[in-house]
Symmetry: C2
Subunit: 205 residues, 2 copies
């Protein structure tokens, strides 16, 4: 996901501009140094507009998380464009866990995981992340179900398989930005591809 | 890991007492509300002792992460007690990702993942988490290597397999406490067990 995709609406939409300002401030300062003042510094309109919409930094950040989830859903490769469920699954994984993270994607992932670190002690954050995780899991399970119908995948449990794939993608992605390490993440992804080939893809494919 | 294991030395050791105080404060207040004052409130000796040892909250928290890693290493099921590498691997997974998280373990995992959320913007944290991840990965790869020698496991790539197992365990654990959800985590673990059975364990075992 590039910045351009994320804030495509930001040129003329106040809400999208506020979200982009939050993103830029989070990227520059990290969560613990983030203030509404610093978000305001990135916002092209009057700072008072931010205070009109949000009572606190936390309220603004929960709205920001909601926005990210909406963009994530809108941007994910979904739909009937995929003739083959295996290719669709590979696209879903590549989207969340690319073999090479570009700078934009890395900045985005850092911002998301920094917010995620607040979730253990904040229910509003927890709900947002639970919704994101559930959405990505549901989509993955749907693709697996289609693949079973197509005869591309074996008759596995779609929910259980999706839960495992999403957990491993999430874990590798989180490690990528919290331990700033690339090689083990690439190794994990290579093994994820082996897992899909040996456990999920039907023998005659 | 129970609190008792973590702070076994805390009854008479100032450093361990400081670490326990940090843990209790982090558990009660979360990262973003954590202050040296609040850590001092949990410390049985004079607060000035904390300031004598650490110039800032961040310095104290990096020392706390180091302490956690030491305890994690000391507490992990390592060594020659395991005749069977498959059982040893299962123990390693159960240790980090139990089927049922007890309250203590959940509190501990919440505290760790809250600190982890700071790592994208803090190199000292990143280094600590990179070291923890690398240690757990190395240990897992060693167990896989022993299993291959024993004929219990197939001739897989130990590092690649370990990277994948550790990423999926980490992802499920992180989801457990940041989305406060148990069912998908149990599903992911069940599928991890299937993966180990079908891809790792040798056919004649």
């Amino acid at each position: 996901m590039s910045d351009t995709d994320l804030f495509a609406a930001a040129t003329d939409d106040t809400h999208a501009q506020m979200m982009q300002a939050t993103y830029e401030a989070l990227r520059k300062h990290g969560y613990s140094e983030l203030t509404i003042q610093r978000i305001g510094d990135e916002f092209p309109k009057s700072k008072s507009l931010i205070y009109q919409h949000y009572d606190s930094k936390d309220e603004l950040l929960v709205a920001f998380l909601e926005y990210l989830l909406e963009q994530f859903e809108a941007d994910l490769p979904i739909g009937d464009d995929f003739e083959n469920a295996k290719e669709h699954l590979e696209m879903l994984i590549e989207y969340a866990l690319p073999n090479e993270f570009g700078d934009d994607h890395l900045d985005f992932a850092r911002a998301v995981e920094a917010l995620r670190g607040q979730a253990p002690h904040d229910e509003a954050y927890q709900e947002q992340f639970a919704a994101t995780d559930a959405f990505y899991r549901r989509l993955t399970a749907d693709v697996i179900r289609v693949g079973i119908e197509q005869g591309v995948f074996r008759d596995v449990d779609p929910e259980q398989t999706a839960a495992f794939i999403v957990a491993s993608v999430h874990g590798a992605r989180n490690q990528r930005v919290t331990a700033d390490t690339a090689a083990p993440v690439r190794a994990a992804r290579r093994e994820l591809e082996q897992y899909i080939r040996t456990r999920l893809v039907a023998d005659d494919q």
